[in-house]
């Protein structure tokens, strides 16, 4: 469980090893993932027959490498006209999906590498082009206040609109779609698979769902028709119009707030802080359930001032009830020269956020740490006990503390 990147801040990596039997109490989590080679993501669910039960699914895991199914960029089935762009003179286009706003010439692609201008028409090349799919505990996203103990049918396509130097899923996030093994999994099939594996949610995760927004929207619609909810794990780097179109279809959104400094966003993320803060505010106004992850990278975003600034901004703009997860960094990709985040640093971050008045402050990627648990902000009693992704005790009743009746924000039951 050693992951960092934008979408992987709590072990949210398709190739990460998940502790076996992480939720032995419920018996649902032990089969979830297997170690993977860098280029052999397992398309677990796709290999199972229609009647497959979860144990059957578990058995099928190692048998479905995708290496032979690599598909070329010209595959028409994946190319769908993009929904957020303007046409410009000389067959150029201007993408309006994320704040980068790429101006893309004919035959070229935007920064994310998954959108291509073909003769003045802009296409997403990753609609239904799934390069990673797993059944994960929702805690792995991480969502701690959203259907705890449930499974999320989790999927990704290639591509990302930033380039975090610590990304643990760079194999897929920093790749073009034709460079990774993928399968055609159209929206209805996504919903069917989620149903088949008893997942109440579809999670768009691992890489950056913003860049496959059209697929997210269509899969969310198909899921909702089938009674399956949708949850998004994103860097929040998205323009307002597309945000409204995509996030309005989501039932919960986790945003990676990677730092509270523009220079960090510029140097380490290759993005911007301001649009991400705008996204968080927009989410609050939309009334969507939202949790925040902050990956703490030693020496780069771990100062008291930065923790304090962020916590006070959250309190002022989002309120004290939004859960925030301080997660542990592990060296990877282009940032291998830094150590793993000391637990004491994570504890310092948590202490500062709590002192600022935030109610639900967690520590992530440190299984067994007491700050994985949920405590009542009123009576301080423990309400949800977790170890890694496993729920050991769940005491919240009807959305409230059973001891003092304090309302605990979240979506606790389906």
């Amino acid at each position: 469980m050693t992951t960092n990147c934008c979408s992987q801040a709590n072990g949210e990596a398709p190739r990460a090893e998940v502790p076996a039997a992480a939720n032995s109490e419920t018996g649902r989590f032990g089969f979830l993932s297997a170690p993977m080679n860098r280029r052999s993501f397992l398309m677990c669910a796709m290999s199972v027959g229609a009647s497959g039960s979860i144990p059957h699914f578990a058995e099928s895991l190692p048998a479905m490498p995708l290496a032979e199914t690599e598909q070329k960029q010209s595959d028409a089935q994946f190319a769908v006209e993009a929904r957020f762009y303007d046409k410009l003179p000389n067959k150029k286009v201007k993408c309006k999906l994320c704040p980068r706003g790429c101006a893309v010439g004919d035959k070229e692609r935007g920064y994310c590498g998954v959108r291509e201008n073909r003769g003045g028409v802009y296409y997403t090349l990753v609609h239904s082009r799934v390069c990673a799919a797993h059944v994960d505990p929702v805690e792995k996203k991480p969502f701690f206040h959203y259907l705890p103990g449930s499974l999320a049918f989790s999927l990704a396509t290639a591509g990302c609109n930033v380039n975090c130097k610590f990304c643990q899923n760079w194999d897929i996030s920093q790749a073009r779609p034709e460079q990774v093994s993928s399968q055609y999994v159209p929206p209805r099939r996504v919903a069917e698979l989620a149903l088949q594996y008893h997942c109440p949610t579809i999670a768009y995760t691992y890489s950056e769902p913003t860049v496959f927004s059209e697929f997210v929207m269509d899969a969310a619609d198909a899921g909702h028709e089938a009674g399956i909810r949708s949850i998004l794990v994103s860097n929040g780097y998205i323009q307002n119009e597309s945000l409204r179109a995509v996030y309005s279809r989501m039932d919960a959104v986790k945003i990676d707030l990677k730092s509270f400094s523009e220079s960090y966003y510029q140097k380490i993320v290759t993005g911007e802080l301001k649009p991400v803060l705008d996204t968080l505010v927009a989410l609050r106004k939309m009334g969507k359930w939202n949790e925040i992850v902050y990956l703490v990278v030693p020496t780069l975003n771990d100062s008291d001032a930065e923790f304090t600034g962020m916590a006070s901004w959250i309190k002022a703009n989002l309120g004290t009830d939004v859960p925030i997860h301080f997660t542990q960094f592990h060296p990877d990709y282009l940032l291998k020269n830094l150590p793993i985040t000391p637990v004491s640093t994570l504890e310092r971050a948590r202490d500062i956020a709590v002192a600022e008045g935030l109610h639900y402050v967690y520590i992530g990627n440190v299984p067994g740490h007491p700050a994985e648990n949920t405590y009542c902000p009123q009576c301080r009693r423990m309400l949800v006990q977790r170890t890694g992704f496993e729920i050991r005790q769940m005491l919240i009743r009807k959305g409230a503390c059973p001891f003092c009746k304090q309302k605990i924000p979240g979506v606790w039951h389906a």
Binding site: G105, K107, E108, R109, K165, W170
Partner: protein, 339 residues
């Protein structure tokens, strides 16, 4: 207009810029890689070879004429010598040679097939076996669209895209860049010959020799912000490129002065020229000047005035990169005009 490309056709050579007295190359016993040459204290040499009668009656580049033009260009670069022998200064028998073309622009504005065939002919003349030569770019389909025939296996010159073999799993990085490298470069290549096209680029300003190396890495889309600066310079610093690149032959038979890099017939002109150099930075400097001259002739603003001067060329020349020189005083420009 029919051209007669006999070996006896006269060529007129003129050296531009101060101190350009000699056409004879340094006389190295063994081929030097481009990085060694670029960092040497001697001046960089760029040859621009023109042939106004390069094309046949149908407007296509004539195979014999382009071979003749290539020979003259190489003589201008490496010294007056028998054409085939000149190439032994670039390659030695037994080496794997890869010819990196540029095929983004389709048939309209890609590396010319006849030119690449001429290069392959000379490589074979220098003792490289046909099957040890690979013509390549990112994608086989793009190669075909540009008029190349994809060929894999057999005793013939190979031609395929990186999609055929993939990229190395491991990242290599320099400065701002971290990328996976085409297996063609890492596994099928001892000597890299770069065959870019002379083109305008809407983001980078121009795309000539240095930028053509974006076709070597798996994630070029990540390196287009800020006019590709410093990314292009950093990509060219990657060891696999730096140590294997030995020669650039820029195709300016057709060139693009606006609206690039894709093919825009209205902004394309038949320049009927080749630019040859071992210093990619110097070649790009000269190529940029040529594009600016054409833009001025067409009444267009300079790239600088449009806010897209190719700053990456200066970065490639700076103390942190030293990939070559962009200082006109240190470039010997030799013009060869066939008549």
């Amino acid at each position: 207009m029919r051209n007669e490309c006999s070996p006896s056709r006269r060529s007129f050579l003129s050296n531009c810029l101060a101190g350009a007295a000699s056409l004879v190359a340094g006389g190295h016993a063994l081929p030097l890689d481009a990085a060694e040459l670029a960092s040497s204290p001697t001046k960089a040499k760029v040859v621009v070879a023109h042939d106004a009668l390069l094309r046949d009656a149908g407007g296509a580049v004539d195979s014999r004429c382009i071979l003749n033009l290539l020979d003259h260009a190489m003589q201008g670069l490496l010294g007056a010598d028998e054409p085939v022998r000149l190439w032994t200064k670039i390659v030695v028998p037994g080496q794997l040679v890869s010819v990196k073309v540029n095929t983004l622009g389709g048939r309209g504005i890609s590396s010319n097939v006849q030119l690449v065939e001429a290069i392959c002919e000379r490589l074979q003349g220098a003792g490289i076996k046909a099957q040890q030569i690979v013509i390549w770019d990112r994608d086989s389909t793009e190669l075909e669209r540009a008029g190349f025939r994809v060929r894999t296996g057999g005793n013939q010159v190979q031609c395929f895209g990186t999609d055929h073999v993939g990229y190395e799993d491991e990242l290599v990085s320099h400065g701002s860049v971290g990328s996976r490298i085409s297996k063609i470069l890492t596994q099928r290549c001892d000597v890299l010959i770069n065959v870019p096209v002379l083109k305008d680029h809407d983001g980078a300003g121009v795309t000539i020799a240095l930028k053509n190396m974006y076709g070597v890495i798996h994630n070029p889309n990540k390196y287009h912000p800020n006019g590709c600066d410093p990314y292009i310079a950093d990509v060219n610093m990657l060891p696999e490129i730096r140590t294997k690149l030995r020669l650039t032959i820029c195709d300016a038979t057709s060139a693009c002065y606006e609206g690039g890099p894709s093919f825009k017939p209205e902004f394309t002109w038949q320049h009927n020229a080749l630019l040859v150099a071992q210093d990619s930075v110097a070649l790009d400097t000269i190529g940029w000047q040529m594009i600016e001259r054409k833009r001025a002739e067409k009444g267009l603003k300079t790239l600088d005035a449009e806010g897209r001067a190719p700053r990456y060329i200066a970065t490639a020349a700076d103390a942190a990169h030293r990939l070559g020189t962009n200082d006109p005083r240190r470039i010997t420009l030799t013009e060869v005009r066939l008549a």
